[in-house]
């Protein structure tokens, strides 16, 4: 894709495992590739331990990936020197899950939101204040909160402050890691509506990391599904939710209960048995093979490559899908 703002290629991240687990290496992310176009929201979906947060941290280089490249607007940020990285960081910003621990409790909201402006621009104090005030207004908070401390705000208000801080420099890319998971539904709805509105008015691209499929379906243009450190399926929101192809995506969608008893109880429940394999010793071949009802010898012998299943670029890594596709 030529219009891509972010291009991630064969991203790999390994950590040293805890002592007592045999001193192996945790393969948190195993060769992940994806792109995000200008103005596009890509959802990165997966369960605990799938590696989605690690991908987000590598993209903003809070972690230095073990291998692979992350190109932002054509520049490989995995190799750029610190000083250059600092300049680039003004253009991609992050929002975190926990609005309690991600805001400095001793700073006023005005200072928190102004900090990126101070760090990245040479704006005068008046300009800095004006930008912070504008950012606070944009996220739907009254100007009165500027003089408050984080502990005086509700969880939803704090998350709006986090968003104001991330957007104050009008970045091209927002990386949002489970930004609504700690919030109650009524508050969550406000943040999700706001994110959708801001994306439309400001036009930024977004990597939206979530475990909640309904949130991804609401907000994202395209969705990538991760399992055991790999992307197993990616497609447009409509194609992926209407016609999931990978056995993992299918069972993940079937397992998430719909808030509607008529539809929920009418569903056929194909359950995935067991739990994900260890990411210290991932199984050979396809990562899902120990749990997959469709697995055969080939799934153990060889890791599946991506099969493209639609004109819109819906693709998945599954031998069964590939076999059906080539039989047609």
């Amino acid at each position: 894709m030529t219009g891509a703002l972010l291009e991630v290629e064969r991203l790999t991240m390994e950590f040293r495992a805890h002592r007592g687990t045999g001193g192996g290496r945790v393969q948190a992310v195993r060769g992940v590739s994806f792109t995000i176009g200008k103005g596009e929201i890509l959802g990165l979906v997966g369960e605990t331990g799938s590696g989605k947060t690690t991908v987000g941290k590598c993209v903003v280089r809070l972690l230095n990936p073990s291998a692979g490249t992350v190109r932002f607007d054509g520049q490989d940020i995995t190799r750029v020197p610190r000083g250059k990285l600092r300049q680039l960081r003004a253009r991609f910003q992050m929002v975190f899950q926990d609005p309690y621990s991600s805001l400095d409790p001793r700073m006023t909201v005005a200072r928190i939101v102004a900090e990126p402006v101070r760090a990245h621009t040479t704006d005068s104090a008046t300009e800095v204040r004006a930008k912070a005030a504008r950012a606070i207004e944009r996220v739907g908070l009254p100007s009165g909160v500027l003089q408050r401390l984080p502990h005086e705000l509700s969880g939803g208000q704090r998350q709006r402050v986090g968003l104001a801080r991330a957007l104050v420099l009008e970045p091209q890319l927002l990386i949002a890691d489970e930004p609504v998971s700690a919030l109650d539904v009524s508050v969550r709805a406000g943040i999700l509506n706001l994110l959708a509105d801001l994306q439309r008015s400001m036009g930024f691209s977004c990597l939206f990391i979530t475990h909640d499929l309904s949130v991804a379906e609401f907000l994202c243009d395209r969705v990538a599904v991760m399992y055991l450190g790999e992307i197993v399926e990616v497609g447009t929101r409509d194609e992926l939710f209407a016609d999931p192809r990978h056995p993992y995506t299918q069972s993940l969608l079937a397992a998430a209960p719909l808030p509607d008893p008529v539809r929920q109880r009418g569903r056929a429940g194909a359950r995935l048995a067991g739990e994900p394999a260890s990411n210290v010793t991932p199984p050979p071949g396809c990562g899902l093979n120990p749990r997959c009802p469709l697995a055969d010898d080939r799934c153990i012998a060889e890791a599946p490559a991506f099969t493209v299943v639609s004109a819109l670029g819906h693709m998945t890594r599954c031998h069964r899908v590939e076999e059906r596709q080539s039989a047609q």
Partner: protein, 333 residues
């Protein structure tokens, strides 16, 4: 048939540094044999305090009034010794965090055997055989090995299965599940809900499910009780409530969820309902509807007197505490 659990006008007053908090304000509910009743609401609505007060697990200075009857016996009047026989016996509870509810220093087998000894009088080989049976019931593979495992060796889903097995060890008439799947991934959650469904049909236990997750409620509950600021605002058959919520708060909760039947579309895009403001912390009795400050339907009447729970048909078990309930016709077909 009499209900297994009957709660009548339960009031709970807790104390924090600033003074009393009216955590539960007159909750009444019942759960019959084989029935799953969901108690639903957001953080701070009093649902967990209600659950804890059923077994008198609240801090010592909590003031609890009203009535909690399990199988006809008044729990609020039991002696400490009688309480011990009920806790983990007739009434079992499973909490959100299986890691903090299990004792890290004892093996799984040991902890299940303790319940079997206290409540069933089983020891030695008998207790072991029953423990194995219970682990199989909750879908734990290789149960012989798991009996010797310690909690830290198990995954979150496995620990929650162990908690349910321990709860079943006392052959409870009432199982209270307090956010049992909130800490789990959806595929694991689905497995746990399958187990609960299976147990309900096999044992005929009454189940009170405390949750904030309306997807879980839609999946497994028969009836739903919606709480707001310590009080019951709506109660209905689960199908009725999800199709046509009458209380503005219940309607707001459903409208806030992508994928619910009442979510609205605006200009082709899904727009989630928002409920402005926050759940209040009540320190004194209210002379108004607690939801009025956040409610778009509120009138002077709502600000001057508290609404009582009244039937709102067509089903005779549907009731709402609201002067201006949502009209049924607002729901798109």
């Amino acid at each position: 048939m009499p209900a297994v659990l009957e709660v009548d006008d339960l009031q709970v007053r807790l104390f924090d540094r600033t003074g009393p908090v009216l955590a539960v304000r007159g909750i009444s509910l019942s759960v019959r044999r084989g029935e799953v009743v969901a108690l639903v609401g957001e953080s701070g609505c009093g649902k967990s305090v209600t659950a804890l007060s059923l077994l008198r697990l609240l801090p010592g200075d909590a003031q609890v009034t009203g009535s909690v009857r399990v199988d006809g016996r008044e729990v609020l009047e039991l002696s400490p010794a009688q309480l011990r026989t009920i806790r983990g016996g007739e009434v079992a509870m499973v909490f959100q965090e299986p890691m903090t509810s299990l004792n890290p220093a004892f093996s799984v087998g040991n902890q299940i055997a303790e319940v079997l000894r206290l409540h069933q009088g089983l020891r030695g080989a008998q207790a072991r055989a029953r423990a194995l049976e219970l682990l199989r019931m909750v879908g734990i593979g290789d149960p012989e090995k798991r009996l010797r495992s310690f909690p830290h060796e198990l995954s979150g889903g496995m620990r929650q299965r162990v908690m349910i097995a321990m709860a079943l060890a006392g052959e409870p008439k009432l199982l209270v599940l307090d956010e049992p799947t909130t800490a789990l991934d959806v595929t694991t959650q689905a497995q746990i809900l399958d187990i609960v469904r299976d147990l309900r049909s096999r044992t005929g236990m009454a189940i009170l499910l405390i949750t904030h997750d309306l997807g879980v409620v839609a999946d497994i509950a028969d009836r739903i009780v919606v709480m707001y600021a310590g009080a019951k605002v709506e109660e209905a058959d689960v199908y009725d409530l999800f199709r046509a919520p009458r209380h503005p708060y219940a309607a707001g909760l459903l409208g806030a969820l992508p994928g619910s039947a009442v979510a609205r579309r605006e200009a082709g895009r899904l727009r989630l309902a928002e409920i402005p403001g926050m759940v209040p912390v009540l320190r004194a009795p209210l002379e108004s509807c607690a939801f009025a400050p956040r409610c778009q339907r509120a009138t002077d009447q709502c600000r001057e007197q508290p609404p009582l729970l009244t039937p709102c048909g067509p089903a005779d078990d549907h009731a709402v505490a609201c002067f201006h309930p949502e009209p049924v016709a607002t729901v798109p077909a």
